[in-house]
Subunit: 323 residues, 2 copies
């Protein structure tokens, strides 16, 4: 972090977004690429991605006999979910009940798509810096007929720990962090947010329930209210870090579904990862390049430094603060 | 690839770079951050990174008893190596003998640092888009007292294949690709460049010798000449793809060194990875975000499409072409 930065500078996020833009395909009442007209929705709104990366009927690639050339069809569905009818709000600026509606919709989707699909990935790319091409508050949900690499690794590690220690890894981890305190960002009776011990992105965080919860649809009404609260607190701090609408990719990991619903998944603990790209300021990001791509992640901040910085930020959003 | 792009657009790389800039710390004769003056070098030039991420005397983090909180000191050295005294050239624009000098220096470094360090990572971040903050042609060399994650995984997979099939994985792979042809970009009697079967970055390539070679310092004089040739051919095609100085991160992987020099490393095959960020044009990159970070890479192009595109590009550089 001591080196002077003479490299690429990003455009800061757009601060003045119109509440409704008649050309934006995510706004209520507008027409999308496929000719469909959005309803005048008042809360969340879900539709099929008009350019899906996964399709239920993807053709089989055919098999090559050679062990080094093996492929399989990746099948699934891709949905887009708007959080709110207005383009000029984000989760921390929405009220708690509006955020609860988002959480309820997430739970519903995991419940429904999880009947058939082994993995339902809910993720949000926020900000142009994160490849997001639409400022309207939204996330995506991709369900697949296979367990993708990241959750497969997570499953393996959580299972190994559980077999050895008889306790879910992330439950034990949360207990330790809540005691140590040095990496805690925000906490409540039900939830904990830490900059994880292994963080590689500068302000990466991990959001965890304190009770043992397998999947987002297992959360009680109370836990959902608590989740809305803690998300608003975390995201407000993120926005306050550089006084901008903070870019990130985030997503939920919970126990696998589909055929796995019949298996014992006690080793799993529901959690969300937040991966923000910024390092030095609103315009200078961390580049995960060179050594990181070829060898291993290199940390620019310690998790303790990042957690302290986030912890000390106000919980009132810079946009609603007076003065 | 069918979706319209309304997202972030990058600044195209700077095309007019002065040959010598008195404020650039990488140019001959200039003073660096630590007060040292660069010699009037005429070919390659090597120096210690003034802001090293790895240091030989990094303190021990001390150990925590808990199995989830384990750290170890990462020790090593970070060097910077200039390819040429001029800021306005890049490898494809340098002549073959100048590129051979770069290769010889790489070999020398692996030889020397490899006496003590188990891993010597040579890598080049090229272009502001890849976090490179200096246009002068250069790479970095980080040697570490541990085997980093990526090479550790590569070691594991090559070893498992060798144990099962009695032949180095990447040697068999190169033979298969040379026969199949559909993913080949350029080839010569000694070298092969393919868009690998598993490519995730749009124009990712893998550069491989055709003979069994463990490390870059094992290359014969002839193989080094051949390597200079094939690198110039590949990088010229890269620049010709969008008529810009093509950004990428690249790096070499060879058999581990240090204590591993005494072990049998027959399962290893030397190779270089090229990871370029651009997808659609000189200004629209592939965003490895959301689903990629949380679940698994999602390909926008097939490796066969990318290879065909690169294969069909001229081998004369757009900057030296007449018309
Ligand atoms: O060493 P540099 O060029 O200052 O820094 C660049 O390369 C490093 C090694 O790949 C990365 O960790 C940095 O994020 C990147 O900006
Ligand atoms: O689906 P979008 O928003 O068009 O696209 C964005 O998210 C996808 C899923 O994370 C990525 O694969 C794309 O690279 C990114 O630009």
């Amino acid at each position: 972090m001591k080196r002077p930065w003479a490299g690429q500078v990003e455009k800061p996020p757009e601060e003045h977004i119109p509440r409704h833009d008649s050309r934006n395909p995510l706004c209520p009442g507008n027409t999308r690429a496929n000719g469909e007209v959005n309803p005048d929705y008042e809360s969340t709104f879900l539709f099929e991605n008009d350019f899906p990366a996964l399709q239920p009927d993807a053709p089989d690639p055919g098999s090559d006999q050679h062990p080094l050339f093996q492929s399989k069809a990746a099948r699934g569905v891709c949905k887009v979910m708007c959080f709110h009818p207005w383009s000029d709000v984000t989760l921390p600026l929405m009220n708690k009940q509006e955020v609860v509606k988002v959480i309820n919709k997430w739970a519903e989707l995991v419940e429904e798509l999880g009947i058939t699909y082994p993995w339902v990935q809910i993720f949000e790319n926020k900000g142009a810096m994160m490849g997001c091409s639409n400022p309207h508050p939204h996330c995506q949900v991709w369900a697949s007929n296979f367990l993708p690499n990241e959750p497969a690794l997570s499953d393996r590690c959580q299972r190994a720990y559980y077999q050895k220690h008889g306790e879910p890894l992330l439950l034990q981890y949360a207990k330790q962090e809540a005691e140590k305190k040095e990496r805690v960002v925000v906490e409540s009776s039900d939830w904990l947010v830490v900059v994880p011990y292994w963080a590689t992105w500068p302000y990466q965080t991990l959001l965890l329930p304190r009770q043992h919860v397998l999947r987002i649809n297992d959360l009680t009404t109370e836990e959902r209210e608590g989740l809305a609260d803690i998300m608003k607190r975390l995201l407000t701090k993120y926005d306050n870090l550089f006084d901008i609408s903070f870019p990130y990719s985030m997503g939920w990991h919970g126990a696998p579904t589909g055929p796995n619903l019949k298996e014992d998944n006690s080793h799993w603990q529901l959690h969300a990862h937040y991966y923000p790209p910024l390092l030095r300021s609103a315009t200078v990001k961390k580049f995960m390049v060179g050594y990181e791509m070829l060898a291993q992640e290199q940390r620019d901040l310690t998790p303790e430094q990042a957690a302290e910085k986030l912890r000390n930020l106000p919980e009132e959003h810079y946009k609603t603060r007076e003065n």
